[in-house]
């Protein structure tokens, strides 16, 4: 025998591990034990197998990898004795789960054990099956379980019943086989069998309408009687919990009665008496009793209407609500939320108490209460309730403020008839907890303000006053900055003053002061600073007298270390100094933001355009590519109005660029940003000798702000865009997968070797197909071919991968001024007859390359080449000029729910990339 495999006893190992003083020491002990266990495993030594596995389970609990022990479980399960099997099954449940393929191997052993003569072994097998059964096992073993439901020993019957629950959840088709045996279980006397039978009955009703109908007809009365017996049973020490006989069984029975009574007047009628009895007679001074009452209330709420019972139920909840025990109050709030649909008046009566619960110190209670309050709000009580909540904002816990502000805002939004009230309330919230509100809240406020044309002046003046008092609230400040930029003149001339306003005198330089002092405050973040710069530019046009001063402020940011601020400052500076003639049109007031679109978008799904009245319209997510191009062209027209066009090809170039990028039909929101961003950047880089092109920037900023407001997660993207140092898509919502060359457990060298071999067997690399697909692509373009000689980006296209069902085309372009970087637009076309879903593209490159994958435009690929998925890749070649690009790719997708994996190597990139 190997000296290592003799090993220590389980107890000794645990002691040794517990004696470790440091994590490193513990790792050492575990490593030694694991080595010994492995050695023993490889010797196939049956004597220590179950001790080894027990040790492994302990090691597993500590969080160390133990996959090498999985096969040992199967061997133990296959061995004849109970102790071995017990550890084997325990290991099976701990170390494996239903997704592992090893499980297939164990089905047969389980089947044999289910038919074993020793009922304890049958019990072990049932237990394992109930906990990790997969759909396949369920199908294979269902007949065995059905049989065991009638086994003589109740311990086996109850286990089989719970196993059946797992089986019908996995394979609902099997439900009908279980209906009859369950009907028999419901007549049992043994509590364990009864409680599991009742549970199985409830689950059968959930998965099968026929089963529900059957049980409703044949078992309702029986179950009512069982509940009656349990409720009236004399003291039984075995099941007694604080004076109540088996509360768990009570609860299960009430639950199944609820299922049976729901939507059926007769069944509901037959259970009325016993429900009334339970609701009135159950002791409510202990948790067990309250648990029963709680379940009973829920059943009463859900079965067909019986006025008297419902009053009883609501009264119980009222009692719960005033209970001193937090748990009881919590469940009361929980249930009142459901009761609101049944009897909202009765719930309204408890409004004051509920409002108190919002102020509770326990976050669980607060959250429930707040949800409930929001359901209680109606036209008549909205004002006092909002007032209460806003006042509470002052004293509430910081971590609660986020939730609280969100709810207040949604209430205010939902019930505001007067915009002025809405604006006032929002100002209060922002002044109090501006740092906690979510982005969409302040975006919504801006949208509302732009739409209330008669309140522009009022809004900007109130914001001005508020921001003086509460400068530290970031979002309040942003809204204020935005409004001062847009409506700055109303601040000064008191345009549209309302009677309720206190008169203020603000001079032009006061308005500039606010921005100047704020932009310099340390706490002012990048977005706010950027917004300040825009606002300043706008004010320079509104207040010509302050123009020079503003120019000086902006000028200070020309040296900012943050590229975005620096660029903005430079651009705005040149607008103010050199392009007076176009400044006023650039700094025009923002078009009114479309409220309907905005709220629709916030609601989640409606993909509509943010259309505006003054021509700068942006078609965003899911809009067709053509439209976007047109809009960008619009933009060009606007900004080039009175400045000489930099070159006649500029617009076309942009269109080309977008055309190439936007070829695919559907684009994700993030993508549009990236594309627009890249396009503008490239233009900028291309024509940076020409100052006129700078004038794009304010517009693209607005384009993006616009888009940002319209899009829920926009701010992330926007921030990404602002931080130029990092590539835009890196932290965008769907994180792209960057597969580095050594993630697949091979050494990088190995990969390199394999990559340098000319072509992998599965990859079909052809460059002949490339030309035609390039032509295809170009046909879709509105204007001349994209290549512009000299400093323009060079495009080429290759078919990177082609199989019988799929084609991947790479459109390759270079970024001028950055020879190491290659931009690739990958476009996937489905050549087969079936739609591909769950489409995922992964790529790996050798070490001298750096790869960034942007999110794909979608994950399903229509059949027959009708449409495509696109995905942008960016490759930086650190050995540019010495080595050419090479890439391994892996594409996985589902066809008719079957997984398909295609792999290949792309080595036909043009040279010198």
């Amino acid at each position: 025998m190997n000296p290592f495999s003799s090993g220590t006893r389980l107890r000794d190992m645990i002691r040794a591990i517990r004696a470790c003083k440091t994590a490193a020491e513990e790792r050492g002990v575990v490593r030694k034990e694991c080595a010994a266990i492995r050695a023993s495993i490889s010797e196939n030594d049956p004597d220590y197998r179950h001790r080894n596995l027990a040790k492994l389970m302990f090691i597993h609990m500590l969080g160390y990898p133990t996959h090498f022990g999985q096969m040992e479980c199967l061997k133990l399960i296959a061995s004849p004795g109970f102790p071995e099997k017990r550890i084997g099954y325990l290991g099976l449940m701990l170390l494996l789960d239903e997704r592992q393929e090893v499980l297939m191997l164990v089905t047969n052993s389980i089947k044999q054990d289910l038919n074993h003569t020793n009922q304890y072994i049958v019990g072990l097998a049932l237990c394992a099956l109930g906990n990790i059964c997969s759909a396949e096992m369920a199908r294979d073993l269902a007949p065995e379980i059905e049989r065991l439901l009638q086994f003589r020993d109740p311990n086996i019957r109850k286990k089989a019943a719970l196993c059946s629950i797992r089986i019908i959840k996995k394979v609902p088709d099997l439900a009908e086989n279980f209906v009859n045996p369950v009907a028999a279980l419901l007549k049992e006397k043994h509590h364990g069998v009864l409680i599991t039978g009742v549970q199985l009955c409830a689950d059968l009703c959930k998965v099968s309408a026929e089963a529900l109908e059957y049980f409703r007809k044949t078992c309702t009365d029986g179950l009512v009687k069982v509940l009656k017996d349990v409720a009236n049973s004399p003291y039984a020490p075995e099941y007694d919990i604080s004076g109540i006989s088996d509360p768990f069984l009570h609860i299960r029975l009430l639950k199944v009665l609820r299922v049976l009574g729901q939507g059926d007047a007769d069944a509901s009628d037959s259970m009325n008496d016993i429900l009334a009895q339970v609701a009135t007679k159950t002791e409510s001074n202990k948790n067990a009793g309250n648990a029963i009452l709680y379940e009973c209330v829920e059943t009463i709420m859900n079965i067909e209407d019986n006025g008297g019972l419902r009053v009883l139920a609501i009264n119980i909840l009222g009692r719960f609500l005033s209970n001193r025990d937090n748990n009881i109050r919590y469940v009361a709030l929980n249930m009142l939320m459901r009761a609101i649909a049944v009897d909202s008046k009765a719930v309204q009566r408890h409004r004051a108490t509920i409002l108190e619960c919002v102020k509770d110190s326990d976050p669980s209670i607060r959250k429930r209460a707040l949800d409930l309050v929001c359901l209680l709000v109606n036209e008549t009580n909205v004002k006092p309730l909002t007032k209460e909540l806003t006042e509470h904002l002052e004293v509430s816990d910081p971590e609660f403020k986020g939730d609280l502000t969100a709810k207040i805002c949604s209430i205010v939004e939902k019930f505001s008839h007067e915009k002025i009230w809405y604006i006032d309330q929002m100002l209060k919230v922002l002044s109090e907890a501006g740092n906690y509100v979510k982005d969409e809240v302040w975006h919504a406020l801006i949208v509302v303000i732009t739409n209330a044309s008669d309140l522009h002046g009022y809004a900007v003046r109130s914001l001005y006053r508020a921001v003086q008092k509460a400068r530290d609230q970031e979002t309040l400040f942003r809204v204020a900055v935005w409004c001062i930029g847009e409506y700055g003149e109303m601040l000064v001339n008191n345009f549209g003053r309302l009677d309720i306003e206190e008169p203020t005198t603000v001079t032009e330089s006061d308005a500039v002061d606010v921005l100047e002092t704020s932009i310099k405050i340390h706490s002012c973040d990048l977005t706010s600073q950027a917004m300040c710069l825009i606002a300043l530019l706008k004010l320079s046009s509104r207040f010509p007298a302050c123009s020079q001063r503003i120019n000086n402020i902006i000028g200070q940011y020309k040296g900012s270390f943050v590229l975005e601020l620096q660029q903005r400052a430079t651009e705005f500076n040149s607008i103010i100094e050199r392009h007076q003639n176009m400044r006023s049109s650039l700094a025009e007031r923002m078009p009114v933001l479309d409220e309907a679109t905005f709220s629709g978008r916030r609601a989640g799904s409606v993909p509509a355009a943010v259309s505006t009245s003054q021509g700068v319209s942006v078609n965003l997510p899911n809009g067709s590519a053509k439209l976007s191009t047109a809009h960008v062209a619009d933009l060009l027209d606007l900004s080039l109005d009175d400045a000489p066009a930099p070159s006649s090809s500029g617009g076309e170039f942009l269109q080309d660029l977008l055309g190439v990028n936007l070829m695919p039909v559907s684009l994700q929101p993030g993508h549009i940003y990236c594309v627009l961003y890249e396009s503008f950047r490239m233009l900028f880089l291309n024509y940076n000798s020409d100052p006129h092109i700078f004038s794009f920037s304010p517009y693209y900023w607005y384009l993006l702000t616009n888009a940002n407001q319209a899009q829920k997660r926009g701010s992330d993207v926007l921030l990404d865009l602002l931080s130029i140092g990092t590539p835009p898509a890196q932290s965008s919502p769907s994180t792209p997968q960057v597969l580095s060359s050594n993630t697949d457990n091979r050494s990088p060298l190995d990969i390199l070797d394999r990559l340098s071999t000319p072509s992998a067997p599965s990859a079909q690399v052809s460059s002949t197909g490339g030309n035609s697909s390039m032509l295809d692509l170009l046909n879709g373009l509105p204007s001349s071919p994209p290549t512009s000689e000299g400093n323009g980006p060079a495009h080429s296209s290759v078919t990177a991968f082609e199989s019988s069902s799929l084609r991947l085309t790479f459109n390759i372009s270079k970024q001028p001024g950055n020879p190491q970087m290659t931009l690739i637009d990958g476009s996937f076309t489905n050549k087969s007859q079936d739609v591909f879903t769950d489409f995922i593209f992964q790529a790996a490159v050798p070490k001298f390359l750096q790869l960034q994958l942007d999110p794909a435009s979608g994950n399903s690929l229509p059949a027959n080449g009708n449409g495509s998925i696109t995905q942008k890749l960016r490759i930086t070649n650190s050995q540019h000029g010495k080595k050419s690009l090479v890439m391994r790719i892996r594409i996985s997708y589902k066809v008719n729910n079957k997984d398909v994996l295609e792999e290949g190597q792309v080595s036909n990139f043009p040279r010198d990339l």
């Binding site: 645990i14 609990m61 109930g130 364990g192 509360p247 609860i251 748990n327 469940v331 669980s364 209670i365």
Partner: protein, 142 residues
């Protein structure tokens, strides 16, 4: 339905973890970490219920040990709270005055008891006596 059961000490060491749903190994560790974070700092006066992702955790503290059950959002919290107590009583009876060390050294027995109490995420037996007797019979088989 119970999604998982965790037994953790105050330091966050998991003493027992039983999952009735399939989860990746890494996800399990994350869950254990998050649940511990959720329950360990709560005031004893607070409710025994915390929302956890799309579910809720019913927990109860016994000396330095936290017993946490993750259940569906519509499940009866009070009932599960009661079942935690029943489980602890069973452990207490079986180990006669249970302490954390009993659970560490006899973890496989704790799993065995749990498997007699809860199966497939549902309650299997509500009688303490029945479970203790059953454990006696199982030990005779060894």
């Amino acid at each position: 339905m119970i999604r998982f059961i965790l037994l953790q000490n105050r330091q966050g060491k998991t003493r027992l973890a039983k999952y009735y749903i399939p989860l990746e190994e890494s996800e399990k560790h994350k869950v254990e970490y998050e649940v511990h974070r959720l329950v360990v700092n709560r005031d004893p006066k607070f409710t025994n219920f915390v929302e956890f992702r799309t579910h809720k955790v019913i927990y109860r503290r016994y000396a330095g040990l936290f017993f946490s059950l993750c259940v569906d959002i519509t499940d009866n919290e009070l009932a599960y709270l009661e079942s935690i107590h029943l489980f602890v009583e069973i452990l207490d009876h079986f180990f006669s005055n249970v302490c954390e060390l009993d659970l560490v050294f006899n973890f496989h027995k704790v799993y065995l008891i749990l498997d007699e109490f809860i199966l497939a995420g549902e309650l299997q037996e509500t009688s303490k006596r029945a479970i203790i007797e059953r454990m006696g019979e199982l030990e005779k088989q060894e």
